[in-house]
């Protein structure tokens, strides 16, 4: 195949096609509705379902995403053929780094950056979408393109696979929406409950659009395209959270999610604009090549410098005033400038000269082959800005508040968007942009993740809504990933992203199955003892629970251990950041506790609500089959040989292929420590988890300890946790209320002063135009009309001359001839006489 990357493009556009098809169908149906009495309109209207929604749209959407999955599977196989995995010898970290630095003169091209490929033309294509010119020189170019590397392939597989399963699940779960009239019991109107038309098709319409956006986000080879998709998934999230928009809570949650994400996106835009301004490109590969010292020079010879893959900082040479077009910089570790390398650095002699002399001739507007510079703090801000975007999307502290509320959406949406894929986009982007982050930014990432994971886990302990528990669990797990990335565990973080996607989808779908079986009852306190009623759901949920808790040989165990080991390694390197290890370790136990609590409250014990219990039933096949599949994958997705080795799995090694060398080099010692203390960290966590499991079963199963007692014993802590650490209240106090107050005053100013001024002006103008109108009508129109009337009157007289009678024309002709004769003869006589 000439360019297998196009498979991924096709896989991306399939959901878009499905979206457009459904949109067209819906539009046609809506257009045909007023004319459904006519034969054509009627046939179109009834063909598209008539009054009741039809399943065709769902099949189209499911088929599209299923085909996308198949395509991405083929692409994955082709990619693996192109990029065979090389066995990594786990030797001493320093030794490997040194060998790497000095030994291999010729390095494989595709290891230059996370996005470098063996054969770029096969796997990446970029087209210019818009170009901004400054004079004759192209300033910057917005391009659309795809760039497939191993991370992309894995993400593609994960997203398309889970999305396919969730599509299938949704066909069953959203069955209520197939009715012509749906009664929404949660919305009260003056006529009782709200009655509306089923929105089956619309749901799959949004799902398709979301799938396209998410896949396009993964596919993108530049930040601009990522941003576009970012906003698209945002709007899909908004639409799907507010799917039941008649419910006030749902619409509020949708708005909250959207607005919170806006805060993060503001940071994202700032980061984008900084990079655009200083670096001049948004393409990942070009960005990394400019910011980090490249590995190879033009002759493909390794750069003989210890600064390879590092951000090269430099300080202004004292006494050298900056000239018009550039400045002289001296490379130094603590310098306040960052050297920007040429985009095609391998073609540059300047780079070698700069590295040899230590003096950089940085231009303000570097041309091809020239070096540039940007202030270091700006790069830090850019990294933090992009991270802020990720914080918003991945619901990290302090922007985590929207995610639990987003559970107002239908459960498949929660599973797909708000657990498995979209919220992971933030983590994905941090991983993708990893070389952009300075050590300071990475530390912020790590601490953000640490705080988030702990806080969310503690909140999850006291939640009673089954989906809220899972939502906070998601926030917590995302925190794990962020922390892993922040401490240099690039592989661990993204590894956890993949495993988490599977088991969290499983858990959400399981909860969806429970909710469906209990007739949309989400409160765990009303459940209990459901195991006999829904065995498949219970068992698959148990598998998911064990996975997230980190029981050995379940996939979560591998990834969580890797994160903990990475954190431990980082703490060994930098002991003052001990909190970065303690928080996740403790949270591992808490996670096991609250998940087990969830399962026990739901399925074990005696039924607490007879009504719910009696009506509970197992879900249909379309829902249980995805559950089983996801359970299998949750267990086995990270398996390799030997079974206990996390790094032996195909998943791990595939992700490892695209690990940026900068991460590998900068965190060489951390990796080495982590490798050494892997067992220690894993054992500590496992111990805690077991303790937590026992504790949970004591409380919620054996009833040795009464949870109500505990609640009364620690009322402060319980209230604190119940109120989710008062974050919402804090926001309300410091942001929402002041903003409302200011808005109130602004409104008053607007209505009184500005509107008053405008009204007064308008009144004046009206008065003026009234006079003008009179002038116009009376004098100008009068003149015009007078002219017209005169012309009309003259014409009316003159028209009688045009009798239409041929004969009178001849008479006139003869008369004219006589007249001409007369005049001519007069003049001739005059001339003769003269």
């Amino acid at each position: 195949m000439e360019s297998p990357g196009l498979l991924y493009v096709a896989a991306t556009f399939l959901p878009l096609a499905s979206f457009l098809l459904l949109l067209l169908g819906g539009g046609l149906r809506a257009a045909a509705k007023p004319v459904r009495d006519t034969p054509l309109g009627g046939s179109i209207f009834r063909g598209l379902g008539g009054d009741a929604p039809i399943k065709t749209g769902a099949y189209i959407a499911t088929g599209a995403i299923g085909l996308a999955f198949v395509l991405s599977l083929i692409g994955f196989i082709l990619f693996k053929q192109d990029h065979p995995h090389e066995a990594v010898e786990h030797t001493a970290p320093h030794q490997e780094a040194v060998e790497h630095a000095a030994g291999a003169d010729v390095v494989q091209d595709w290891r230059l950056s996370p996005l470098s490929l063996a054969d770029p033309s096969r796997w990446s294509v970029s087209v210019d979408w818009a170009s901004l010119n400054m004079g004759s020189r192209p300033a910057t170019t917005l391009s659309l393109g795809y760039h497939i590397d191993s991370l992309t392939t894995v993400m593609f597989l994960m997203v398309s696979f889970i999305a396919t399963l969730i599509h299938v699940f949704s066909i069953g779960y959203m069955g209520d929406e197939l009715q012509p009239t749906v009664e929404d019991h949660q919305v009260h109107t003056v006529d009782g409950h709200l009655r509306r038309r089923g929105r089956f098709g619309r749901f799959f319409l949004f799902l398709s659009l979301f799938c396209f956006s998410m896949l396009n986000l993964i596919l993108a080879d530049n930040l601009f395209q990522v941003f576009l998709s970012w906003e698209l998934v945002g709007i899909c999230s908004y639409l799907l959270v507010g799917f039941y928009y008649e419910r006030r809570s749902a619409s509020n949650a949708a708005i909250k999610a959207f607005v919170t994400n806006r805060v993060g996106d503001a940071g994202f835009i700032i980061g984008l604009l900084i990079l655009w301004t200083y670096v001049g490109t948004l393409n990942f590969e070009d960005l990394f090549r400019k910011i980090r010292l490249p590995e190879n020079d033009i002759a493909n010879v390794a750069t003989a410098s210890s600064l390879r893959h590092r951000i090269v900082r430099a300080a202004v040479v004292p006494g050298e005033a900056p000239s018009r077009d550039g400045q002289k910089l001296q490379i130094s570790a603590g310098g306040d400038q960052v050297v920007l390398f040429p985009e095609y650095s391998r073609h540059s002699e300047e780079v070698r000269k700069a590295l040899d002399t230590g003096i950089v001739d940085a231009k303000f507007a570097p041309r091809t082959g020239q070096l540039g510079s940007m202030p270091y703090w700006v790069l830090v801000v850019a990294g933090l800005g992009i991270f802020l975007g990720c914080v918003g999307k991945s619901a990290q502290f302090p922007l985590h508040v929207w995610l639990p509320d987003a559970m107002e959406g239908p459960t498949p949406v929660s599973a797909l968007i708000h657990a498995a894929t979209m919220v992971a986009a933030g983590v994905y982007l941090v991983g993708r942009c990893f070389p952009l982050f300075t050590p300071e930014a990475r530390l912020v990432i790590a601490y953000t993740g640490g705080i988030t994971l702990f806080m969310a886990a503690t909140i999850a302990i006291v939640q009673t809504d089954i989906k809220k528990v899972l939502a906070y669990s998601t926030v917590s797990q995302l925190g794990y990933m962020m922390l892993a990335l922040g401490v240099g565990g690039w592989i661990a973080g993204l590894f956890h992203l993949i495993t988490h996607a599977f088991f969290k989808a499983l858990l959400f779908l399981g909860s969806g199955s429970v909710i469906y079986g209990c007739h949309h009852e989400q409160d765990m306190t009303k459940m209990g003892g459901l195991y006999p009623k829904m065995k498949v759901t219970a068992i698959t949920m148990l598998v998911g629970m064990l996975t997230i808790a980190g029981i050995p040989l379940f996939s979560g165990w591998y990834s969580k251990d890797a994160i903990l080991a990475q954190a431990l390694g980082f703490v060994q390197e930098y002991p003052k950041h001990i909190l970065l290890f303690l928080l996740p370790l403790l949270t591992a136990g808490i996670t096991a506790f609250y998940m087990f609590r969830l399962w026990l409250l739901t399925f074990a014990g005696k039924p607490r609500d007879e009504h719910v219990y009696e009506h509970a039933h197992e879900s249909p096949r379309t829902m249980t089959v995805p559950l089983i599949i996801l359970a299998v994958f949750s267990v086995a997705v990270a398996w390799g040989w030997p079974l206990y080795d996390a790094e032996a799995s195909v998943l791990n090694s595939t992700i490892e292929q695209s690990e940026p060398l900068s991460a590998k080099i900068e965190f060489a010692t951390v990796h080495a420590f982590a490798h050494g203390s892997h067992a220690l960290a894993g054992n500590l966590a496992l111990g805690l988890v077991l303790v937590a499991l026992i504790f949970a079963s004591l409380i919620y199963h054996s009833r040795v300890l009464d949870p109500e007692e505990a609640k009364q014993q620690f009322p402060g802590i319980h209230r604190f946790l119940w109120n989710k650490w008062y974050v919402d209240e804090l926001y309300s106090a410091i942001i929402v209320r002041p903003a409302l107050t200011v808005a109130h005053w602004c409104r008053k100013f607007d209505t009184r002063v500005i509107d008053g001024t405008v009204d007064a002006t308008a009144r004046g103008v009206v008065q003026l135009s009234r006079w003008d109108g009179r002038f116009d009508l009376g004098i100008i129109d009068g003149l015009v009309n007078l002219t017209a009337r005169v012309v009309f009157a003259v014409g009316g007289r003159l028209r009688t001359v045009q009798t239409g009678y041929l004969r009178s024309y001849i008479l006139f002709l003869v008369l004219a001839a006589i007249g001409i004769f007369a005049v001519l003869s007069y003049f001739v006589a005059f001339v003769r006489a003269g």
Partner: protein, 105 residues
């Protein structure tokens, strides 16, 4: 006695024919009458041509040739005029030119 017959006599005859033709055109309501008027006018002119050819040796040839041309043109004119009259009759069911007043002011 009669006055001497010279060029002027012929010119006056031509003028008479011409005027008769013009008046005929102006007075006949029948389209074919108008056509006859045109023929009269052309004949009046032709008489002048031939008279000049006779009385002015400069025009001995040209006068006659122009008369010939005029006759041939008259034939063409008559043919086309008759075709127009027939069309006119088809459209108006009459040949009264006074009914052709669609374009009057």
């Amino acid at each position: 006695m009669m006055p001497e017959v010279g060029l002027q006599s012929y010119l006056l005859l031509g003028a008479l024919l011409f005027v008769c033709g013009a008046v005929c055109m102006a007075m006949k309501r029948n389209a074919i009458g108008v056509l006859m008027g045109v023929e009269l006018v052309l004949n009046g002119a032709n008489v002048n041509f031939v008279a000049f050819a006779r009385f002015n040796s400069t025009f001995e040839i040209e006068g006659q040739i122009f008369a010939l041309f005029v006759i041939v043109m008259a034939a063409a004119e008559a043919a086309i005029a008759l075709a127009i009259v027939l069309n006119f009759y088809n459209n108006h069911m009459t040949v009264d030119v006074d009914t052709a007043e669609e374009l009057k002011g």
